[in-house]
Structures are given as structure tokens and as C-alpha cells.
Amino acid sequence: MHSMAQFLKDAGEIAAAIPDGALLALPPEYAPCSMTTIRALVRRRARYLRLLGVPQFGLQADMLIGAGCVAEVETAAVTFGELGLAPRFTDAVKRGTIRMKDTTCPAIHAALQASEKGVPFMPLRGLIGTEVAARRPDWKLGTNPFAEDDPIIYLPAIRPDVTLFHAPKADRQGNVWIGVRRELVVMAHASRTTYATVEEIIDGSLLHDPLTAAGTIPALYVTAIAEARQGCWPLALPHGYAADHEHLALYARMAQTQEGFDSYLNQFVLGREAAE
């Protein structure tokens, strides 16, 4: 591993660098998602991806699942918010075509923090007596060694192969500004590799100014960066641009069936490299 971030031409090159079968950590839709790379993964016909929602999913997972790129999903939820259930995800769960690891938001954060700290596990309160925990043989019911009769669940560390997100900006040293979206910091720390698309690559250093440094992931944790304007589309870039609600509603309608989803792909994803 080289310590300095690489600069790639576009999201397609990032998608090419993410191997089939990778454990791929993705942010929630209220943090910036690299939808442009998600589409590139569909175009390159990625297979057997294991998706980790940090902590929940929407369009990213639904599109990858519909396109047949996904073997397994670990997440606290998959939702389209006011547009209802995520159609390709829901269909795949009912048909049993993906392995489902249901979990809960803080368990994902804690398991990533375990990898961030290089410890094999993290204890977490709650969880006991839930069917979420009952269906996770990889979680262990243990005890608090500092008290009598105090059961607590031990979560094994999760170390993603890849973290992928979008950010407002990066500098030419490979530092990436993410602002308050610090789940991206934990994800980058916990993951073997981290790829980001950014709205723009700026001159100067994000670390030199204490104001920007406070919201910056140092290049040390960044494998590669590609510039991609409107890289979140049709999702929002918080404080940047709004979601394309009409397009999201169109997706939600078309993806109700596999046929509709396939024609969505034909219309908006496949062969559309040039439009990215």
C-alpha cells in the first residue's frame, strides 16, 4: 500500500478498482453517496458484492441489487423514505436471492470502531432479547467483567475491504473534506481501502487551514480520488444541491418490477458513461 492517494480519471476507474466479492461499506443517503460510481459498478457488471450499510441504505443498495451485483447485505434498514419500500431490495429478500444480515445502526458503528481501534470486538448495550441478535450467530452474549450478573453483547469487528463515498472537495495532496459527516471518517479508518469521488479538486491544502482541517480526512486514509461533478445525482449533496425528487420517484415507479428496473438501467445507466 502506498501512503499517498492516487488520482483517477473518473468514477469508472474507481469501479474498476473495486473487486468482485468485496465487502463494500457505503454511507447513508444523508451523507454524500457516490452514485456515479454505483452506476459505474453496474456498467462494469460487478458481482458478488457484500454491501455494508453505515448504517442504512436507499438507492445505492437497491440499484446494485436490481442489477445483480450483490451477494449479501448487512444493514439496519433499506428505505426510500417517503417513496416507500426499496423495490428491488424487497423483492430480492422475498425471493431469497441475497443473503440478509439484519442489524441495528449502533451495532454497525461500534463494529467499525472496533476495526478503527484495532480491537477484535466491541461491547454494546441493548440488543439482548431482540430477534436481530438471535439471528446473528457471529455476535456473542457475554458478561461485563466489572460487575455481577450483567449480560452484554460482544460484536466482532467489521473491516470493510472498500469504503466508497462522495465529498464536496479534495486537495491535490489527497486530503478530502467531509465536514460533519464523520461516519465517513470511521469508515475510512476501519477499511482496507477508501475511494472517493469529489465535486472538485482544489489548489492549496485542506490541512493548512485549521477551519477546513477540522472536517478533513487526511490522505493517509485515502486510496484514490476521482473528480465527479454532481456525483451524488439523483441524491442530494447536503449544502450543495438538492435531490432530484422527480427522478427518484421515477426510479421508485419503474423499479417495482425487474422489467421496469431493467429498462431504467437501459435508459439511465448502461452506455451512459459519457453523461457522468
Binding site: Q56, L85, K94, D102
Partner: protein, 244 residues
């Protein structure tokens, strides 16, 4: 003033449960509790503080998605809200599967943070507008989070009330039973019994009061600044409810 709608009755009922609290957080898919929290803040002159998940225009947390859970664990969040595809008479909630989880008849979004926050936050308010034997069931198909826990399980939090489109229940963790507290205007106790899949207690006094409607000044706030702010996260909800 237009007619008061069911959602507005629910919002007002939840708002009353939040007055005087310090900090309230609102999770995903919670437009009615979100409106109630914003109304409580408006009525309380800025108190409780409100953190609305997904409202990236109003930053309240600065340590990432884990901060809500850590903050709750530190005892700083007084109230939270959970819905449920199913809620049963022991206040167990199901946010995931109908039928066998390995071959489900239906799949809902997922448990979100419920499997944790239901244990941790002192005042968890359950809400479900659809009040039918299909949603309020004898026994949930899947326990996203249990209503009660054995004595030795660390559990500073748990269910406080259940607010539906027909009534308000409180919850007694000792008896593991809901108690009907009030029935919304236009509904009655017989209907509640008929439409509820689980048994519950009636008030000790015998008579069941009506859920008070929102006072006019609350309605003004609700349909004005609260509607405007909730629309940032729930545009369709705000459009349907407040702009009708």
C-alpha cells in the same frame, strides 16, 4: 381554522409528552413525532432541543451518524420515537418481517436503531397511525426490540406510550400491559377494543377521557413554522397534511 385532522391530534398528544424535557431526538420515517418535537420546542421557547435525522440543513450533531446513539447512551436524550409494522400487547415492536424471516410474506425497511434505543432512552413513544388488528397484534412475528427485559439486563429506557390514529395508550412495564389513556374525538372504547389485536387495561377511574385537540395557537404553529421545517425532511407528508 380548518378541521383538525387525525395526524394533528396525534401530534398534539405527543407534544404534551415532550414539554419540559431537555433533548428529544427523532429518527427515520417519523414525520408525526418530528412535527410534535418541533411543536414542543416552539411552545417551550427553544426547549427541548430537537435533533431531526435527515435534516442536514439544521446541524445538531457533529460527530457523525453514531453520535445520536452515543448521546443517548450518555443519558442526554430524554425521548425518542419508534413505529412498527406490528406492535404487540407487551410492547414488542417489529420493524422488519411479516411471516417467517427466512421466507417472509412481507419485508419492511428494518430495525434501524430500535434494537438499541428502545433499551436506552427513558421515554420511548410508540406511534402508529393505522390502528387495526393487523398492526396492533397479540404477538409480533419478529422482535426488533422487546417491550421489557429481564431484571439483570441493563435497561434505563423503554416504552412510555403508544399513540395511534384512534387513541393514546400508556405502558406499564411491571404488568407488561398497555392502558388506554384517552380516545381521540370521534372514536370510542368499544371500537378501540374491536380494532386492537391485544388485550389492554382501562383507566382506574373507569371513564376514558377524550384526547384533547390541539389548542388554536398550537394549530397555528403546527401549520406554520413546524410544517415549513418538517417539509425539509418529509415534503410529501407536509404537502398532504398541511397544504390540503
Amino acid at each position: 381554522m380548518k378541521d383538525v385532522r387525525t395526524e394533528e391530534i396525534m401530534i398534539a398528544a405527543i407534544t404534551r409528552m415532550l414539554l419540559g424535557l431537555r433533548n428529544v431526538a427523532v429518527g427515520a420515517s417519523s414525520p408525526i413525532p418530528g412535527s410534535a418535537a418541533l411543536l414542543a420546542r416552539a411552545v417551550g421557547g427553544g426547549q427541548p432541543t430537537v435533533s431531526l435525522l435527515g435534516n442536514s440543513a439544521a446541524i445538531t450533531f457533529t460527530d457523525g451518524a453514531r453520535e445520536l446513539f452515543d448521546c443517548a447512551a450518555q443519558g442526554r436524550i430524554d425521548a425518542f420515537f419508534l413505529g412498527g409494522a406490528q406492535i404487540d400487547g407487551e410492547a414488542n415492536i417489529n420493524l422488519v418481517y411479516i411471516g417467517d424471516p427466512d421466507h417472509p410474506k412481507a419485508r419492511f425497511p428494518g430495525s434501524f436503531g430500535s434494537s438499541y434505543l428502545y433499551f436506552i432512552v427513558p421515554r420511548v413513544i410508540l406511534f402508529r397511525e393505522e390502528h387495526t388488528p393487523r398492526t396492533l397484534v397479540k404477538k409480533v412475528d419478529f422482535i426488533s426490540a422487546p417491550g421489557t427485559s429481564p431484571e439483570n439486563v441493563y435497561r434505563p429506557g423503554g416504552p412510555y406510550a403508544l399513540v395511534t390514529g384512534r387513541c393514546v395508550f400508556s405502558f406499564d412495564p411491571e404488568k407488561k400491559r398497555f392502558r388506554l389513556e384517552s380516545v381521540h374525538p370521534g372514536h370510542d372504547v368499544d371500537e378501540i377494543i374491536r380494532e386492537t389485536g391485544f388485550g389492554f387495561d382501562l383507566p382506574l377511574t373507569g371513564s376514558v377521557p377524550a384526547t384533547p385537540p390541539p389548542p388554536p395557537d398550537w394549530l397555528v404553529l403546527m401549520r406554520g413554522p413546524v410544517a415549513a421545517e418538517i417539509a425539509r425532511v418529509y415534503p410529501a407528508f407536509a404537502q398532504k397534511l398541511f397544504a390540503a
